[in-house]
């Protein structure tokens, strides 16, 4: 099934929402494992999102301009004795997409009852 242009699948929306939640906690950038853990905690799931599914979704979000990514300075992982991280951050378009999705899923306001005046 083809998706509507510009629409997000639930996992992409969840990634964007989690990225916003991280930002609110002062974490501007995140790596794959961190977002997988946050997604698991937020949804109360038993497993972390699969490698293939997670990185494919992150790649799509970057292609859509909703995320940006950059490899960290090689000196940092060299000092910490660990592999280099690819760090993602949500863009302004990503924030707008989350806000739009929230508006679309919010219940429509009830129409005011018609009152007969005659």
């Amino acid at each position: 099934m083809r998706r509507k242009a510009g629409s997000l699948v639930p996992l992409e929306l969840a990634i964007c929402s989690t990225a916003l939640a991280l930002r609110e906690r002062g974490v501007e950038q995140f790596h794959g494992y961190l977002i997988a853990k946050e997604l698991k905690d937020a949804s109360d799931a038993k497993l972390l999102t699969a490698y293939g599914t997670l990185y494919r979704a992150l790649g799509r979000l970057e292609q859509m301009g909703l995320m940006t990514s950059a490899w960290e300075d090689p000196q940092i992982p060299a000092d910490a004795n660990r592999p280099r991280r690819r760090l993602y951050a949500i863009t302004q378009d990503g924030q707008t997409a989350v806000a739009n999705a929230a508006r679309e899923t919010a219940p429509a306001p009830l129409a005011a009852p018609r009152v007969r005046t005659t």
Binding site: H31, Y33, L47, L48, A50, T53, P83, R85, R86
Partner: protein
């Protein structure tokens, strides 16, 4: 990367991480270098974080297993044309061999094929028509590759032209052949000519895979040449021999107990 702790459960998790690394190397093997290296580095970083976080081996393996379909479809999206053709041919050949094996060992007897007035003759007719189409197309390509006919005709164009018709012929032949097999599957399975035919079919399929996946990669070097490389000629002669053997074995099945 010494920060990852070393204990028995961690060793199991490290084993699972090796599986994840191996799988990542497999599905990224045919990708452009920048994409391949980026994905491998990203998974490596994720694995390191998982191990440092004390993730159990089952979690790592589950993340690999649940992402297989996404890994493969992502990989196919970014593969160049020749690698995608290689992957498609390889997976297709393996799939056909496994399915054929399952079919031959599990196929039930069909009452329709035994008792219906028209089912058996219709299947025989379709089998012959499919074979004429399939082996006819194959013959054209093999004659060009052996250099016995159609000299100078671009081999790549010929492969492209005969490919779809060969596939149609193969499907008709295989489906009708499966129907014929169910008419008397127990007797057919023990018939030495039928066994020879199946073995020759498997060999022909592997030979076709070798030609289209390995040898055709350098088709530009000998596309219009009258003299094609010896390996290509050998593959074409082998193909001719196998298909003729399959035809002969098919005819002899009913004369051998």
């Amino acid at each position: 990367m010494s920060a990852v702790p070393n204990c028995p459960p961690c060793r199991r998790a490290k084993g699972a991480a090796s599986v994840a690394r191996w799988w990542t190397r497999v599905y990224t093997a045919g990708l452009p270098a920048d994409l391949r290296d980026a994905r491998r580095a990203e998974v490596e970083s994720d694995l390191w974080e998982s191990l440092a976080d004390g993730a159990p081996s089952r979690q790592i393996l589950a993340r690999v297993a649940l992402g297989l379909a996404d890994d493969l479809t992502w990989s196919l999206t970014f593969m160049d044309h020749s690698t995608r053709a290689t992957a498609t041919w390889s997976i297709g050949t393996l799939f056909v061999l496994v399915l054929s094996w399952l079919w031959l060992s599990l196929a039930p007897e069909s009452l329709t094929m035994r008792e219906s007035m028209w089912a058996f003759p219709a299947a025989v007719t379709l089998h012959l028509v499919g074979m004429v189409l399939f082996i006819g197309m194959r013959l054209v390509l093999d004659l060009r590759l052996t250099g016995l006919a159609f000299e100078g005709m671009p081999a790549s164009a010929l492969m492209k032209r005969v490919g779809p018709w060969t596939l149609v012929g193969a499907i008709v032949t295989v489906v009708s052949g499966m129907a014929l097999y169910t008419a008397d599957s127990a007797r057919m399975a023990s018939n030495p000519m039928f066994q020879f035919k199946v073995a020759a079919l498997a060999a022909a399929l592997v030979n076709a895979w070798f030609l289209h996946v390995v040898l055709a990669r350098r088709v530009r070097d000998w596309d219009t040449a009258t003299e094609v490389p010896t390996t290509v000629q050998a593959s074409a002669y082998l193909s001719l021999a196998l298909w003729v053997s399959i035809l002969v074995a098919g005819r002899l099945i009913e004369f051998v107990a």
